[in-house]
Amino acid sequence: MPEKKSIPYIWLDEEIDHPLMMGEPCTILFTESFASFTNTVLKFLGSGAGAILREVGYGMGKRYAELTYKQFPDLRELDIETQIIEISSIILRNTGWGNIDFTNIDLENHSVSFKLCNHPSSVMQREDDDPTCHLEGGLVSGVIEIILGEKQTAVDFSCNHGSKCCDIGIQGS
């Protein structure tokens, strides 16, 4: 069996017998369970659920970024573009929120766009072309807000129906 890599910022606190992520108590759940949760919220609340999910993701993203800086303070010495790529990649890939590939980072116009693949919302069985990746889009906007220090909004969602990838745009204010 190949040697498995450990994630350096998720560990078990033996004193309280609970997992910690970057020193904070965390809850680990199956991707399928999250997809089921999102599916149910969208089904019962309709389009309004998107705003709720984006807001939840946004808060998560901000917290993730703050804790990532706390754990790896040297990241602040990298240039802003590298920080965006590194911190977003760390958070999304290593915590199971998907693989992110930035297609455009335009700091002058406060605009960022990226392709997100294999994220939890992509495992949902969709019956229409409505976007489902609200939480993940909100999450990245929260991460970028902490890096740039200005309000960010996930504004442009495009689902590539049938694939495991979504295109998302974020605009700063």
Binding site: K5, P8, F72, D74, E77, L78, I90, R93, N94
Partner: protein
């Protein structure tokens, strides 16, 4: 001039990149550093950072692992 090897196998982001930057800062002009990694995102992040710093490097695939050899300017 020295030749050093930085083995980051088993490390995941952002550790390979941060270790590489720290190591380079401690080396001198003319030195050579070979970074060994098996973390896919580092294939992109380390070369990108070297490009930004205008530092020449060679990239070698070694199966699932790869080596980035950096010439300190």
């Amino acid at each position: 001039m020295s030749l050093e090897i930085l083995d980051t196998r088993g490390d995941i982001c952002p550790v390979p990149l941060l270790k590489t930057i720290k190591k380079i800062a401690a080396m001198h002009s003319g030195d050579t550093l070979t970074v060994v990694s098996d973390h896919p995102p580092a294939r992109r992040s380390i070369p990108m950072e070297m490009d930004k710093r205008e530092i020449e490097f060679n990239f070698d695939e070694k199966g699932l692992e790869f080596e980035i050899t950096v010439n300190i300017p």
